[in-house]
């Protein structure tokens, strides 16, 4: 598989993880068995971490609540941000965690059943961690677009059905 084909494979699988491998092989112009083999080796190499569904939780009564939490920290002399980031990442409530530029140090996405659970997690678990100097919590009220996919109602195909 060429580098171009490998990238195309990853791009395809990122948006349609359930795609039929035989079809994907045709689309990429490779042999039928190559897609499975390449995916296996990309999994092995840790490039592919998993296959996930994209869920619009807002469509359900009970679902998940997300909050973006800006975290300011005093980095440790030796370990810098890594040590404290590792400590924060261990919590199951932490959905994702990034070291970012700008007015804060860490951007933590916290996920819970409801607002209270998330708020209490920040107050009782995150804020007291040694080295954390300040947190600001922004709850997600509605998600318009995630993972490159707009969650708004789909736009119609307005093209004429036959055109030159």
């Amino acid at each position: 598989m060429t580098e171009h084909q490998r990238l195309e494979l990853l791009r395809a699988i990122e948006t349609e993880p359930l795609v039929d491998h035989a079809e994907l092989a045709v689309r990429l112009g490779v042999e039928a068995g190559e897609v499975g083999a390449e995916l296996a080796s990309l999994e092995e190499a840790g490039v592919i971490k998993g296959y996930r569904a994209l869920i619009d939780w807002d469509r359900l009564q009970t679902g998940a609540v997300h909050a973006f939490v800006d975290v300011h920290v005093n980095p440790e002399a030796e370990a810098g941000f890594d040590a404290i980031a590792r400590r924060i990442a261990r919590f199951e409530e932490v959905h994702s965690l990034h070291l970012v530029s700008g007015g804060r140090d860490l951007l933590v996405v916290v996920r819970g059943q409801d607002f209270k659970e998330v708020a209490l997690f920040v107050a009782e678990k995150l804020a007291p961690i040694q080295g954390v100097t300040r947190t600001t919590t922004s709850f997600v009220l509605r998600t318009y677009k995630t993972e490159g996919t707009a969650l708004l109602s789909a736009t119609e195909d307005t093209r004429l059905a036959i055109a030159p």
């Binding site: 195309e8 791009r11 395809a12 349609e16 079809e23 045709v26 689309r27 990429l28 112009g29 736009t155 195909d157 093209r159 004429l160 059905a161 036959i162 055109a163 030159p164």
Partner: protein, 392 residues
């Protein structure tokens, strides 16, 4: 409404004799049918990338709602020139060798009107975009078709082009990558046409609107960049296809200053200038559009392989198209004519395609199916076509 038929003779003979586009009939048929999956569309399924649209909105908000220069915004012409230079190492002067048109459609029309005298002949490689014949006829000139064949991957043979040339021939019209076949003419093929153009002192109208929708490895050959061709070529391109901007109506023509000046004269009297906000969107497309185009090309390429493979698997022989977003499989095996095939496929299985003969007589026995439609629709269309073939 007047119940009696309109008086004859008040429409000009040229227009009255012009056959309505063969696509039109299918369009009406599709309009009457529910739940159709269309592989009959000649435009991208992508929405215009938002940064292009927002540039137009910004220009409206800034109040730029007046005419531009007849030739188009100088900034856009400069952008076009830089783009062509980067791709093809071909240099045009933005002040007098570039004209921004209302799509390639207008460019072709005014080029024919600017260049042709009544009775002049234009050699047209077929099957081709439906407007070519009409543009020539409306200029009171005569289209002379040259047939191409699946066996040659729809590349014209130099001998066939040569045979179509007469003392009245003024120009040759070529389009690579091609609508409707998706064929890309080889460099050798285009060089053959170039030799004929030079030998017979002909102009070449080269419609390269699909140049960026190219899936081969050798790169697109720009006709005007062939040795000696810049001085006798009008290069047509536009934003409709590669940038998913069909509704914005922006194209351009580049060529020798005398020809561009003549075309500009007609353009100035008939349309003044291309729409201002659309020109701003096109400029943004040139400035920041490349990653978006690359994404779309990658997506088309996968769908192209899927559809070509699908047709071949179903026994509808389909040569590998290396450009545009069309496939042109043969339906000869079914024993149906291309028109019967398309009509029955539409009525019985609700898949819209276009008969190849709509693009010239030599397109008969083929259908045009576009892959500018979503993967789920392509999969479903292939299944429906399979069931249709089984039912024959």
């Amino acid at each position: 409404m007047n119940p009696t038929s309109p008086p004859t003779g008040r429409i000009s003979r040229v227009v009255a004799d012009l056959a309505p586009s063969a696509i039109r009939r299918f369009f009406d048929l599709v309009a009457q049918t529910e739940g159709v999956i269309s592989l009959g569309v000649g435009e991208p399924d992508f929405a215009t990338p938002w940064s292009f649209s927002s540039a137009a909105i910004g220009s409206l908000e800034a109040g730029r709602t007046t005419y531009t220069s007849n030739q188009g915004l100088l900034s856009l012409r400069r952008g076009i020139v830089a783009h062509i230079q980067r791709l093809y190492d071909l240099l045009y002067d933005p002040t007098d060798e570039v004209l921004v048109t209302i799509g390639v459609s207008e460019g072709l029309d005014i080029a024919c009107r600017a260049l042709l005298n009544p009775g002049d002949e234009v050699v047209i490689v077929e099957p081709c975009f439906v407007s070519y014949q009409a543009a020539v006829r409306l200029a009171h000139a005569v289209p002379v078709p040259v047939a191409t064949h699946a066996a040659d991957a729809f590349n014209p043979r130099a001998a066939d082009v040569a045979a179509a040339i007469t003392p009245r021939t003024r120009a040759i019209m070529v389009c690579s990558p091609s609508n409707p076949t998706g064929a890309v003419y080889s460099r050798a093929c285009l060089e053959g046409i170039a030799r004929l153009a030079a030998a017979h002192d002909l102009l070449v109208l080269s419609d390269e609107i699909y140049d960026q929708l190219y899936y081969g490895t050798e790169g697109h050959t720009c006709f005007a960049a062939l040795p000696g061709m810049r001085e006798r070529t009008i290069y047509f391109n536009g934003f409709s296809k590669a940038y998913a901007m069909t509704g914005w109506r922006i194209g351009y023509a580049c060529g020798p200053a005398d020809i561009i000046a003549a075309m500009t004269k007609i353009h100035q009297y008939t349309v003044m200038c291309a729409p201002t906000a659309s020109q701003e969107a096109a400029l943004e497309a040139l400035r920041r559009g490349e990653p978006r185009v690359a994404e779309m090309v990658r997506s088309y390429d996968q769908r192209r392989r899927l559809l070509v493979d699908g047709f071949n698997r179903l026994g509808l022989d389909c040569f590998e198209p290396l450009g545009a977003f069309y496939t042109f499989p043969s339906v000869a095996r079914t024993g149906l004519s291309d028109e019967e095939f398309c009509e029955r496929l539409l009525v019985e299985r609700k898949v819209a395609t276009v008969p190849g003969s709509a693009f010239g007589a030599c397109g008969a026995g083929h259908i045009r199916a576009t892959y500018a439609t979503g993967l789920p629709q392509l999969r479903e269309a292939l299944e429906r076509i399979e069931r249709f073939l089984q039912s024959l």
